[in-house]
Amino acid sequence: MKTRRIDNYGKINRDKILSFRWDKKSYKGFEGDTLASALLANNIGIVGRSFKYHRPRGIFSSGVEESGALVTIGSKDRRDPNVRATTQELYNGLEASGQNAFPNVNFDLAGINNYLGRFFAAGFYYKTFMGIPPLEWGKGTAIWMFFEKFIRKAAGMGSASGLPDPDAYEHAHDFCDLIVVGSGPAGVAAAIEAAEKKLDVILVEQDSLIGGNQLAENDFDNSQIKNQLENLGIKIMTRTTAFGLYDNCVVGLLERVTDHISAPNVNIPRQRFWTIRAKHIIVGAGAIERHIAFNNNDIPGVMTVNASKHYLNRYGVLTGKRIVIATNNDSVYETAHQLSEAGANVTVLDSRTNFEIETNKSFEIRKGYVPYNINGSKKIDSLDISKIEIINKSETINCDQVLLSGGWSPAVHLLSHRGVKPKWDYNNACFLPSDTKENITMVGSSRGLWNKNDCIASGIAGTTDALNRLGISKTNYFFPKPGGWKNPIQPLYEVKYKKSRSKSFVDYQHDVTTDDVRLAHREGFISVEHLKRYTTLGMANDQGKMGNIIGLSLMAELLNKEIPEVGTTVFRPPYTPVSIGALSGRNVGKHFRPLRVTPMHQWNIDHGAKMIEVGLYQRPWYYPKENETLSDSYIREASTVRKTVGICDVTSLGKIAIQGPDSTEFLNRIYSNGFSKLQVGRARYGIMLRDDGIVMDDGTSWRLAENEYFMTTSTGEAAKVLSWLEELLQTRWTDLNVNVTSVSEQWAGVSVAGPKSREVLNNCVDDSLVVTNNNLPFMGVTSTFLKGNIPCRIARISFSGELAFEVYVKSDFANTMMDLLWVNAKKYDGCLYGLEALGALRVEKGHVTAAELDGRVTIDDAGLSKMASTKKSYIGSAMRKRGVLKNNDREILVGFFPTNLKETFNAGTIVCEKNNIKGQGIGRITSVTYSPELGHWIGLGFVKGGLDKWKDTNLVGADPVRNKQMNLKVVSPHMIDPKGERMYA
């Protein structure tokens, strides 16, 4: 196979040969190659098929703007689709393949779409919703649903592996005075100037080498610059893209750590996602060369002029033998010269008629000529050219390559992320960055400077600007004027094709043609944002880096306006794609979110607990014996509690220490029920409302001393309640002398419940007198010692309706407490019980939890009206009386039994009247359980009007999700021991 690699050119390491596979065939390249340069060197012209029409596509650029050479790298779980071949560094063993083609890019069956172009015009997908054009056949969504899968398959690019990503990613953070984006002449000058002025500088470069576009120069060597930067202590980050700018000079970086290595160390992350907090940002991101729209301007062999310069001088690849360069500006002539010196036959078509340029006459210049049409399909055979005055084919030039330069667009993307609109510069036919009050300065060609000395001057001026803004200096500075070419650019965006059905591409990646833009205009999509969405111009990987301006200019022409009047779409992060893996970093699998365990977590597991997640907490769910199922187990556990005694880890409840002389007044204001008369040594169940009168949370508060309380909250609301108490004390009631501290982690808690609970505790405490009915009555609290001199707090509190105690010890003593309680509970045939049994017991008793208190329920709805004091004002007391909350049509807490006691139901069941089963019905079931005590299923929930209204009515439970329906009756929520005789025993 003939190679396009030529001797004596390029900075690749010819001593280090790398082998790689492209579409299952083996090829060779060199260290320093990109996949694109290696493919070009191996004379591979077609690297993919286009998005809609499946036209053969080649390599258009040498950088991030690439919109043709999107390929798939790797295989199996490491398959990475839509990778730009132009930025993928070559490594030994790299596997790559073309996309969007079957069976391959050279022979693609779907290429027929090319001839069905009018069916795939702009807005095709949207129109399919309305029926298949042109006859709107099969109008309606069904036809869309039918065709969608075929359309998606046909129009997709690469596909993801669908397997878990085996690579590791990492999030990293850094701080600096100045971050410089881009290591071209401007960025390097800025960084050096800043480091010399003692600023702490990070220099970011997306390429593997520093130098920017100088890497396309044949005599450029970056080693001296690199040494200088390093000696000044500048942190250089190569292979790192600044993908977004955010508030307060925060910059998002993506560092590709191992994407260029064939067998990376598994202990090193593949990519690093950096958050840099800088004091100032200098952006020298360069400029991007545009193409020109004309018929068949996408045939493999079309490329930007600057790209061919890169391939020649950096990679030693001469991309064509007979090259036609089409331009409207001065920037191409050095390249034309070098290409012809390297052995190519070069012709330059310059759309301008009146200009002077110095050359050595090694190539021909055709003044006033533009490209008109490319002949060829898989490669360029020849180019039809036209005079600029009268557009039509005037003659044909035989060639194998067409290089385009329609002007340069400064990379203003990062500034655009900050909401700064660029301004159109008529002299240079490009958008230039506007000024911003934020600490961001644009330098180099990203502010429209075309020659190197101006770029260097702008870099130094940029750092002076930064020093002034940071208050370090007050030095005058000025930026060179935009431009820098000898002859002015002549705007040239499209060369119109005279025949119908042209294929003049504006956006290569999405197959958006000039006709599509005109169609969008005809159909009324004239705003740039509409144009973008309707035609997909400027979407996906490349975000229209090459083609956007062409699209704008066409719309401007159609609207008879100037480009700045049409506007520009807003660039949003990321500048180039960021992998999902990098975004998630280490927050995957078990590390997706924090895991909270109680101090007796291992003890629970060792004693047979199956665990369940409750918020972030792992809590015991049930403790199965031998072959028990979940229901076997919880029914046994709940029955055991009612019969003798059970032990349950309740450590996950929120615990707050409330201390200070105004603690009682504070509690009296935040709870709806009275706390002013609570004695030391007593606990009280309390309900907190929000400002708007809705229930926020419930829990208990224990008065340990005159000015000290121990508050428990529900597991789920613990953090919210603490923040709320702090807010009240710090913002509203700043005169109250109270301190609140979370002690959730400091105390391990357990519930000992059942008729034998007192006997068990008796055996566990140092002084058995402390737990007698007299010394520790219902809602009594004591601070005492467990055997072994372990300090503990015991409150006689019941959630199950049985005689029960909550025992708290310092977390370090959790296991000792569990051992002690368990040894003694076993003497009474007691059990360990989990959340499922806890739920069963509380549903039987009619206790509400988060399932009922869902942020919509008032204290009256929950049937707890007697908890609302009438003798005092408290948070929510005024608002709970407002009209809508007093409506007698509100849903009130009730219990549910199935009419046929053999039937079951689920939480989420909608309660309806018998002959009116629809909509939201008249209520809902929120919690259900099998009741071991009653011997059938029971539920808690809400029904409009409550028990009084529906007591004797047969209702229906509708569960359309599970395709279930059952007859229900409404009962009191207190389904067992309504008088509470057991608790007081």
Binding site: D247, T275, Q730, T731, M879
Partner: protein, 94 residues
């Protein structure tokens, strides 16, 4: 990313904080009428420009702060503790 200069901890990412709400509300006394409470709870100005708002340094020192922030640019002009006594302490330590 918004950076908030906590008077106690120093400049930190906004992800360490929780947003509270309008810092200019004068909450009525607990025994005030439903009408006054309705006004305090539900009626808000939709300010374009600088506004005073509360933030809680929930993953830091737990201090509630009054932050003067532009709703247009996120620029922050001032950060103070909500509690007047803490405000004095901060002022005195400047």
């Amino acid at each position: 990313m918004i950076r908030i200069n906590c008077p106690y901890c120093g400049e930190r990412d906004h992800s360490e904080f929780s947003y509270g709400g309008d810092a200019t509300i004068n909450y009525p006394s607990l025994d005030a009428s439903e009408k006054e409470w309705t006004q305090a709870i539900f009626f808000r100005k939709n300010i374009k420009g600088f506004q005073f708002e509360t933030w809680h340094h929930s993953n830091g020192c737990r201090m509630w702060l009054v932050v003067e922030r532009s709703t247009v640019t996120h620029e922050i002009k001032s950060v103070k503790p909500c509690h007047p006594d803490l405000q004095k302490v901060v002022e005195n330590n400047k």
